[in-house]
């Protein structure tokens, strides 16, 4: 992956502003409205189901005694994983001076925020008594000697997700400040025709002014700003590794065969980046088409992301292999049974072998198309593979959660997990919730970091100028 500037937009700064802020400053298109309506409907269905389950109980879901975690936890791990790409791009790639990240980092970070918001829903709504969730926070209280259990990975989750969300949010917002200032400055040029327009513009002006927190763009400001971004990037970097490691410990610290594996933390991190990049790619391909940002999000970006997907895909495949090898090597019959059951190579039926083979095909086979330059520079192929990878990664969590639980130690307690309408409703609704926020974001804030693109562009010009 090249560290050179991948852009050569060759437009004046004002034009760049125009290009990037076009979706923010113009009225929404029909396509946006349709997408927004769909997302909102799905979201409302989800909230309806959540409300209903609050009222009557979790029995409306398909979970049962051996399989006490189902779609909710699968979705939780899936969405936390999705978020990782954003932080990786904005923090780690920043520290490594990967300049191609510039035009995608804003959207990827936004995706992180919304993915974590989606993910964080699930631990709450999967509780039997969500109104008692405050029991999980370690604050001084009068409930006697009972406090939170610091041995529990679920408690670690609370800290991990909480930290991750707050750091990501601050990082994202700080990155937005110069661009919001640009918006603020450009709003003065607008001339609303109607009274209502004037009123709304007034509100927008105030909001943007507050959000720009008095950004003046002086050299001193920039100096401080660059330092702060560096510090925040350094703070975020360990989170890329820690959050999904801790999520993986929900499984790894248990005694359940198929969960009880030391490889889980790195395996989950690789998987998270794998699925996160696939999601970024899906979104980027759509954005660059819809908002005509092809000169900002270039084929080079997509190709680089494709290479990350190839790499992390192979890491995930390696982890799968290790799991099986360890099971085979362990001499532990129960462990071996679980993996045979996953693959469906038993002398009796394995009801969930199909999910393993979906996962295998999507995650292990599909990234290898990325070896070929022709394929990884083909938008259609990339788009399909990005979606296929995410389907595979969702099923990876399905395999881990469901197949491990449905047949554990005592064959007498083995049972099936059959999701209900409520499970599917929340699965789809979570995407609605995510896209609800994302669609609002692309309409309200610049989805490409304008200042950074300009800086790169300027640096490029400078380099060229000095070079010749």
């Amino acid at each position: 992956m090249s560290t050179e500037n991948v852009y050569s937009i060759g437009k004046p700064d004002g034009e760049i502003d125009n290009d990037i802020l076009r979706p923010v400053e113009s009225f929404p298109t029909k396509l946006w409205w349709i997408a927004f309506a769909l997302a909102t409907t799905a979201m409302l269905v989800m909230w309806g189901i959540i409300g209903y389950s609050f009222k009557v109980g979790l029995g409306i879901l398909g979970i049962n005694n051996p399989v006490a975690w189902g779609f909710y936890i699968i979705n939780f791990v899936f969405w936390v994983g999705i978020g990782h790409a954003g932080t990786l791009i904005s923090a780690i790639l920043y520290l490594f001076r990967q300049r191609w990240r510039t035009s995608i980092n804003r959207a990827a970070e936004a995706m992180t925020i919304f993915a974590v918001m989606t993910a964080a829903l699930f631990p709450l709504i999967h509780l039997g008594r969500p109104w008692m969730v405050f029991f999980i926070f370690p604050y001084p209280n009068e409930r006697g000697p009972i406090w939170t259990n610091f041995k529990s990975p679920l408690l670690w989750d609370v800290f991990a997700i909480g930290t991750y969300f707050s750091v990501s949010l601050v990082f994202w917002y700080m990155g937005l400040v110069p661009d919001i200032a640009t918006m603020r400055d450009r709003l003065t040029n607008m001339e609303p025709k109607t009274k209502l327009g004037k009123f709304l513009l007034g509100i927008k002006k105030i909001t943007v002014r507050i959000m720009a927190i008095g950004w003046v763009g002086s050299a001193k400001t920039w100096l401080h700003y660059e330092k702060m971004v560096m510090v925040l990037a350094a703070l975020s970097t360990p989170l890329v590794l820690s959050v999904h490691s801790i999520v993986s410990m929900d499984f790894a610290t248990s005694v359940i065969p198929g969960w009880h594996a030391t490889i889980f933390p790195p395996y989950f991190v690789a998987g998270a980046i794998y699925s996160g990049f696939a999601m970024v790619m899906t979104i980027m391909i759509i954005s660059r088409e819809v908002f005509q940002l092809k000169s900002y999000i270039t084929m080079k970006h997509l190709e680089n992301m494709a290479l990350v997907i190839l790499l992390t895909g192979m890491m995930v495949s390696f982890a799968y292999t290790i799991e099986f090898v360890v099971a085979a090597y362990s001499g532990n019959g129960v462990e071996q049974y679980v993996f045979k059951n996953r693959m469906g190579i038993l002398d009796h039926a394995s009801p969930y072998a199909w999910s393993f083979w979906i996962m295998f095909t999507c995650n292990v086979v599909s990234p290898h198309f990325m070896w070929f330059k022709k394929l990884r520079t083909n938008i259609t192929v990339l788009f399909i593979i990005s979606i296929v990878v995410n389907i595979g990664m969702w099923f990876e969590r399905y395999v881990i959660v469901v197949t491990s639980l449905h047949r554990d130690y005592l064959p007498s307690s083995w049972d099936l997990y059959i999701p209900t309408w409520a499970d599917y409703g929340v699965l789809i609704g979570a995407f609605g919730w995510f896209f609800f926020w994302y669609l609002l974001f692309v309409r309200a804030l610049p989805s490409i970091a304008i200042a950074e693109v300009k800086a790169d562009e300027a640096g490029d010009k400078l380099a060229k100028g000095f070079g010749h």
């Binding site: 005694n65 039997g128 248990s254 005592l410």
Partner: protein, 1007 residues
């Protein structure tokens, strides 16, 4: 106050005006009578003259003297001075008995604040010794069944209207008085007083008035067989504890046959491999609980139980006292080992070898035969053959005690009399039919035509506790009380039991004894009747004192039995026996009684339906059990709904592929398929009596030739266990007795164990125990050699711990709430597998995986080693449930109680145990409420808890004494002794969770 009248039509606000309107509407229309001024002037009673005044005054005085409520002297009165034994919060136990058509079950009822909350066995009873079955425990919910008749009812035109029970009885008396042909159809009764009350009614109407029938047929068959073989209709006392070798031909004596609780206790007392262990051989069609516990089990084809018995008799005959008896010789002659083998499907060598074994155990063996599943249309025939075998072997008088029988005076009518009654009914010759707790429309074979016949009876009077199928056909339904609400007595095994009411009738009902007394025109005080007219014939000494003692003890030993001389077998009885001489062709059905539902009389009890069948683990349904080969050859798969038809009648039930069932044989449980018993039982399962045969020689339940076709697939059958293979994981360990004798650790599986203490977290510190600070180390040992899988413990646990029933759909989803379950695994060939049982409850692990993962610390280790659960602290992450290797934690998926429980079912709840709300995890607590109750008592008396005082509900419920609970930190206790046995192992010890439950390897006596 009427705002309108005071303020006219003025109002302050819209709300005020609306309110005014509402108040005006609400006011009584009679508030302002027309002649109000006249009334005010002259007074309310102005029209009352002196005569009228006196009339009303007199009536009022006399009415004040009449006590409207019936208030006999023996009724409970509110405490003015609280008796010392009645402490709020302290349970009171009453010794009483359940006396019904099954016999006499001595019970101890635990009452809290005047409400019975749990039924337990009566430990001091000389015969039962506290043994109980699931059936016995379930009675508590039948008392509080919201669908029970709350008052009597009368049919006017098409619909029933409620009338009070006293009126209903008066009406019944009127109806009976005017009628010429009155008949009574009734179930058996083992209460001398009830019988006597009834007989005073019957006496006036001739001996043929009453017909007594047996829906399941177990008892009637045994009485008939005994009468034929030995001349007197009794059920002897089978002494399973005295027999070294037991051979059962179809008799499910551990599950459903006669008194399974007593037999289980006796049998299990001989399942100690360190002492003289007995051996159980079972030949049967459908795998029963007894068959599943057999050391050797012979699956035989449906309809061939009699053949097997005859074949066995033939092998045993030579050299015996009956060897030269012509009738005997003639009867058994066709059934050579080879012939028997060809018909039944058992190997000829196996028949010979079992006969050889029996011959070695003369006088020390016991052969039992019979049961619903052996009724072949000739009542008692199989008993005659079994009696012959026992007489040949000299068991009669030794392992079969007949001098003091279990049940005597079996007043069952012959099948011919029943057939005659139905004919009479059909022909309109019966004016009044009184049904005494009988539901013939439901539980007589459809072939009998009872359903049509009952419509031709002018007046049907039903004494019933539910508006069941037969009561629905009645003109008058008299509501009968539950046995916990009634006085009664019972006589069984020479022991006279007095059954006392533990609570006043919840509804307007009367006990059956009272009802009969009134129908007979006698004084309705049943208590006096029992005490003064009956008890004297059983009790000795001063009646008042003896009765009082019998009341508080619950029983009085009137006669003691024991070994005696053998009876003379009447060989002539064999002459009428007709057994098949050829093997069946096509599909042959056998009908059997299930452990949980029995004959279906209590089909409205959700707990019975939720209790999984011990063998198949299916609940909320009966099913068509077929062999794997039959299913394959017909293309049937699990999830198919089959239609079973015989002679134009058919029923639909789901398929179950039953291991150990002969090809060509099909089995189906009776007792299901109620149409009208209540909101729980209606439509649950299919009524198998539809298919049964009926003749004047007896009903046919076995060997019915049927046709089966698939009608639907994708049918959801609720089961608590879908997987039956142990996968070699050594969960239920077992070993042959011979191996055990050489190596006490036989059957154990060596695992690469983790070293203790090598965990991430420190081990629990119990050093306080070592210092003798007066705490305990609770532990449990479960002897798998004794456990029969009967599930009495499960239902006892349900009752003790307020465990909710979830229903078929939820069980299908895998959400049953049982805190303990019986795991059942099959091992070996599918044609004849070995079944293994293990009760599994929370194992209270030392390294409990659930404790580490709970984010809120809701589940914690107690200083005594219990794994405690704080429901209030639980937020329902279910992580503990995921991480439990035993999967014994249960989650409340829905609210199970609030708004769900119908009055008066809430009274069955144990006030000592929290009722869990929606969204929390629950699990076995080792009955911590009992531990704490005993701890308090011990503390106040300055001593330690004594082992005999403390029993968990499952331990108390176990008729086999397989479960022992106690302080394993104390070397003196029984629990510790069991815990230290070399036979013990901990389930999943290789996971390093260190359970506090030890299982003792099942030892199988393979002879």
């Amino acid at each position: 106050m009427n705002a309108n009248s005071e303020k006219g039509n003025m109002w302050r606000s819209v709300e005020a005006k609306e309110r005014q309107k509402y108040e005006v509407e609400k006011a009584s229309p009679n508030e302002f009578p027309a002649a109000v001024t006249e009334l005010i002037e002259k007074g309310f009673n102005y029209s009352l003259d002196r005569k009228k005044f006196l009339t009303i005054m007199g009536a009022s005085l006399s009415m004040a003297g009449i006590n409207c409520a019936k208030q006999p002297a023996e009724k409970i009165v509110p405490y003015v001075f609280r008796p010392p034994e009645a402490q709020p919060g302290i349970p009171v136990h009453y010794a009483t008995a359940r006396v019904n058509h099954q016999g006499v079950l001595p019970i101890l009822v635990k009452a809290r604040e005047g409400k019975p909350i749990k039924i337990d066995g009566h430990d001091e009873h000389p015969v039962s010794k506290g043994a109980m079955t699931a059936d016995g425990f379930a009675g508590i919910w039948e008392l509080y069944d919201p669908d029970r008749l709350k008052t009597s009812a009368e049919k006017t035109s098409a619909d029933f209207s409620d009338i009070d029970t006293a009126t209903a009885i008066a009406k019944a008396v009127e109806i009976v008085k005017g009628a010429s042909n009155v008949r009574v159809l009734s179930r058996a009764s083992y209460s001398p007083s009830e019988k006597k009350a009834k007989s005073s009614f019957l006496r006036a109407r001739g001996s043929r008035t009453q017909v007594v029938y047996d829906a399941g047929g177990n008892q009637a068959q045994l009485f008939a067989g005994e009468a034929k073989s030995y001349g007197s209709a009794i059920i002897p006392q089978y002494r399973f504890d005295k027999a070294d070798l037991i051979v059962s031909i179809g008799a499910d004596f551990l599950g459903t046959w006669i008194t399974p609780e007593v037999y289980t206790k006796q049998h299990s007392s001989r399942r100690n491999p360190d002492k003289n262990m007995n051996r159980l051989v079972v030949a049967e069609t459908m795998m029963s609980l007894t068959g599943a516990n057999a050391d050797t089990r012979f699956p035989i084809s449906a309809g061939t139980h009699l053949v097997f018995a005859l074949g066995l008799a033939k092998q045993l005959l030579s050299g015996s006292a009956y060897a030269n008896n012509a009738s005997v010789k003639k009867a058994v002659a066709p059934y050579t080992a080879e012939k028997t083998a060809a018909i039944t499907g058992v190997d000829a060598t196996q028949i010979k070898s079992i006969a050889k074994e029996l011959k070695k155990k003369k006088g020390k063996s016991l052969v039992v035969a019979g049961g619903t599943n052996t009724l072949d249309g000739d009542l008692g025939s199989i008993q005659v053959v079994a009696n012959l075998i026992n007489s040949i072997l000299g068991n009669d008088g030794k392992t079969i005690e007949h001098n003091v029988p279990l049940l005597e005076k079996g007043d069952f009518s012959s099948p011919a009399e029943l057939a005659k009654l139905i004919d009479d009914m059909k022909n309109g010759n019966v004016d009044v039919l009184i049904l005494d707790r009988a539901n013939p429309v439901f539980d007589l074979p459809a072939e009998s035509g009872i359903r049509e016949a009952i419509k031709n009876v002018k007046n049907v009077i039903a004494i019933a506790d539910h508006k069941d199928e037969s009561a629905s056909e009645a003109n008058l339904v008299i509501a009968a009380s539950h046995y916990l609400e009634s006085w009664n007595d019972g006589y069984s095994s020479g022991v006279y039991s007095v059954a006392q009411p533990v609570i006043r009738p919840l509804f307007d009902t009367q006990s059956v004894g009272e009802i009969w007394l009134q129908l007979a025109g006698l004084d309705s005080n049943y208590y006096n009747f029992i005490k003064d007219d009956n008890a004297g014939s059983y009790l000795t000494g001063s009646l008042n004192i003896a009765f009082e003692k019998a009341l508080s003890d619950g029983f009085f030993v009137a006669r003691r039995g024991g070994s005696s001389s053998s009876r003379k077998f009447k060989a002539g009885a064999l002459s009428s026996i007709k057994a098949p001489t050829e093997a069946n062709s096509g599909l042959t059905l056998t009908l059997y009684e299930s452990v949980q539902i029995g004959d279906g009389i209590n089909g409205n009890n959700s707990y019975r339906h939720e209790l999984p069948d011990p063998i198949t683990k299916i609940c909320w349904e009966n099913f068509v059990a077929v062999s794997k080969a039959d299913a394959q050859s017909n293309g049937w798969r699990l999830g198919d709904l089959l239609e079973v038809s015989r002679e134009g009648r058919s029923i639909k039930a789901p398929i179950y592929i039953q291991p150990g069932l002969k090809d060509g044989s099909v089995a189906l449980a009776i007792g299901y398929g109620h149409e009208s018993i209540g909101s729980v039982g209606d439509g649950v399962g299919a009524n198998a009596w539809t298919l049964a045969g009926f003749s004047k020689n007896g009903s046919t339940f076995d060997g019915l030739s049927v046709e089966i076709k698939k009608v639907e697939s994708g049918y959801r059958t609720a089961t608590t266990q879908r997987h039956h293979d142990m996968h070699g994981r050594g969960l239920v360990r077992h070993a042959p007795l011979s191996d055990y004798k050489e190596n006490p650790k036989a059957g154990s599986i060596e695992h690469d164990l983790h070293l203790p203490g090598r965990g991430l977290y420190p081990v629990h510190d119990y050093s306080i125990l070592a210092e003798g600070k007066g705490t305990y180390k609770w532990g449990m040992a479960i002897d798998l050699s004794k456990c029969t899988g009967c599930s009495a413990c499960v239902i006892s646990c349900y009752s003790e711990n307020n465990i909710p029933v979830t229903g078929k759909d939820e069980v299908w989803r895998g959400r049953e709430m049982s805190w303990m379950r019986i795991d059942r695994y099959f091992e070996g060939e599918i044609e004849n597998p070995t079944a293994h049982f293990a009760p599994v409850m929370c194992q209270h692990c030392e390294n409990a995986p659930c404790e580490n993962v709970c984010p809120t610390n809701a589940t914690q280790h107690s200083p005594e080693g219990l794994n405690d659960m704080a429901y209030n602290r639980c937020i329902g992450t279910r992580y503990c449930s995921d991480n439990c290797p035993f999967k014994v934690r249960r989650f409340n998926w829905f609210e199970q109680w609030e708004g769900k429980i119908a009055d008066p079912a809430q009274y069955a709840l144990n006030p000592d145990v929290t009722v869990r709300g929606r969204g929390v995890i629950e699990k076995c607590s080792f009955c911590v409420q009992r531990i704490n109750e005993q701890r308090q008592m011990a503390k106040s008396e300055g001593r330690k808890i004594e082992e005999k005082d403390l029993k968990t509900a499952c331990q108390q419920g176990c008729p086999a004494d397989a479960i022992v609970f106690g302080d394993i930190g104390n070397k003196e206790t029984m629990a510790r002794a069991q815990w230290d046995l070399e036979r013990g192992y901990r389930m999943l010890d290789e996971v390093n969770v260190h359970p506090r439950v030890k299982y003792l390897t099942r030892i199988i006596n393979q002879g």
